[in-house]
């Protein structure tokens, strides 16, 4: 097939536009990462806004802006963006995990817990879903639930110190010092410099 000269020019021009646009988009992403690294979250949000304005359903851009709003302390904007990300992709585990962060920051424990439970329904032993759900349980002072939950999760992540810390903390808050000490000692095996565990052992065993 032969292409006439004006049509060829159009094709070349369109191709150049695509390349330019791609380079420009790459530049915006790179810029936003650099701005985030510098701690200039507002500028990074502005950079991402340009992408979302051009393509409102750009899932990753919406997710990224939600994260940047969270870092910038704009929790309500972050919640709105994570909800938008879930509308764009209702299978997203990341959006469900993400929205828990601003909700926890606002001490909206039960709403955060609902998203944690939703994530666990989709991905039963998801590390971050269980971890963030434990933060919500601690916020609600649900010490028995937290102790059971942390103990069960620690079985799935036996080398992880964080679930052990929640387990020990929940036992301690119920006045179960001896069992808490046993768990805190396990924490110290994994992280010998763990301040909370060391302080508890110092206070109750030494």
């Amino acid at each position: 097939m032969r292409i006439n000269a004006p049509a060829r020019s159009m094709v070349i021009f369109a191709g150049l536009l695509l390349v330019t646009s791609s380079i420009s988009a790459q530049g915006v992403w790179a810029e936003s990462y650099a701005q985030e690294a510098r701690g200039d979250f507002a500028a990074a949000i502005e950079s991402i806004n340009a992408i979302i304005n051009a393509e409102p359903s750009h899932e990753f851009a919406v997710m990224r802006r939600a994260w940047l709003h969270y870092l910038n302390g704009q929790y309500n904007n972050s919640i709105r963006d994570y909800q938008r990300a879930m509308e764009i992709n209702d299978q997203s585990l990341e959006a469900r995990l993400g929205i828990m962060l601003p909700l926890l920051a606002q001490q909206r424990w039960r709403q955060a817990a609902n998203y944690g439970a939703e994530t666990i329904r989709l991905s039963p032993w998801n590390y971050y879903a269980h971890l963030r759900l434990m933060v919500a349980e601690e916020g609600q002072r649900q010490w028995q639930t937290l102790a059971r939950h942390a103990a069960e999760t620690a079985k799935r992540y036996p080398s992880d110190p964080t679930f052990l810390v929640y387990w020990a903390r929940a036992l301690a808050r119920q006045g179960n010092v001896s069992e808490a000490a046993v768990i805190y000692e396990k924490v110290l095996e994994r992280v010998p410099s763990h301040e909370e565990a060391a302080a508890f052992i110092d206070e109750h065993l030494n």
């Binding site: 302390g73 704009q74 929790y75 309500n76 904007n77 920051a105 606002q106 001490q107 909206r108 424990w109 039960r110 709403q111 817990a113 609902n114 944690g116 439970a117 666990i120 329904r121 039963p124 032993w125 269980h130 759900l133 919500a136 349980e137 609600q140 649900q142 010490w143 028995q144 639930t145 059971r148 939950h149 069960e152 999760t153 301690a172 808050r173 119920q174 006045g175 179960n176 010092v177």
Partner: protein
């Protein structure tokens, strides 16, 4: 059991198991019920003998956004004069809504309470009481600072012996401070109360008082398994007060000239709490020149549905 059924059961077990580990945190509505009783007796009063209150509150809260409360309390005040006393019904309705704007770094709550009180006071002066009591509060996320402004407008029924209507206006500015890693809470609340008709308020047109509350939570369990210890005191004068925390109206009380209370709360499992408070209150009835006191024991059992 067919292989497919077995697979389904295994799948269900796999999915349910981690959820079960965290099951108690997932419901959007919390319904809590309080059952309360107060038994009190008066000393040195030339009129009053005893006071008994029995009641309940049902609170339903949706996530951390808002909620409603319904309450009913039955009060029996008996006088020294045999066969005389006042029986009273207090119906309480309350709604609240919380906001968390980013600029606040905390929670702002708007609350509106209503009391409808009726009793068989022969004089009718303490009956037919309608109270409307809004409150605007703020607590920071660090749980180190709390402030609220409460207002209450109480309309009392016509008295057969004392002329004129009685309307009571109350302002309650409140400050709260959390310290010691949130193991301690100190709250100061001023009661600034104005009366439209001094004749029905022991010749006073206003009273001022300050209430101080301190709560200490124990790390683990405290002595005798207690979760928290609470102490409060009131200084100054107070009559016809509306207590936002206790959701009660002092429409039957004479002028309070001071009070002190001490008590604690026990956790029974994760969903039940038992509170015991012992109080000593001083009163004065200027119309008949009688200063007296009361001692009371208050018991509250709280159950949370989930």
């Amino acid at each position: 059991m067919s292989p497919s059924t077995k697979t389904s059961c295994l799948l269900i077990l796999y999915v349910v198991s981690p959820l079960a580990a965290a099951q108690e945190a997932v419901d959007s509505w919390i319904v809590a019920t309080d059952v309360q009783a107060l038994v009190g007796s008066f000393r040195s009063s030339i009129e009053r003998d005893s006071l008994n209150v029995l009641g309940f509150f049902v609170k339903a809260d949706y996530l951390e956004k808002g909620g409603v409360t319904f309450g009913y309390n039955r009060t029996a005040l008996s006088f020294l004069n045999a066969n005389s006393g006042i029986d009273q019904d207090d119906v309480f309705l309350s709604g609240r809504w919380s906001l968390t704007p980013d600029w606040a770094s905390g929670r702002i709550t708007v609350r509106l309470d209503q009391h409808t009180i009726s009793n068989d006071d022969p004089d009718n002066g303490t009956s037919d009481v309608d109270v409307i009591a809004p409150q605007l509060s703020y607590q920071n996320f660090a749980n180190t600072f709390y402030v609220d402004v409460g207002y209450a407008r109480s309309n009392f029924g016509d008295s057969l012996s004392l002329a004129g209507k009685l309307e009571v206006t109350q302002w309650t500015p409140t400050l709260g401070f959390g310290f010691n890693d949130s193991y301690d809470w100190l709250q100061l609340r001023g009661y600034l109360i104005d009366f439209s008709n001094p004749l029905r308020a022991q010749s006073l047109d206003s009273t001022e008082s300050l209430e101080v509350k301190w709560i200490h939570w124990f790390d683990g369990r405290g002595p005798i398994g207690i979760d928290n210890l609470r102490v409060s005191a009131l200084a100054g004068e107070r009559i016809y007060a509306v207590d936002h925390d206790a959701a009660s109206v002092y429409n039957l009380a004479d002028m309070q000239t001071g009070s002190a209370s001490i008590g604690g709360e026990w956790l029974i499992g994760e969903r039940n709490k038992l509170m015991l408070l012992m109080s000593y209150e001083k009163f004065e009835n200027r119309d008949i020149g009688n200063a007296y006191s009361s001692g009371s024991v208050y018991l509250n059992f709280n159950h949370r549905s989930n």
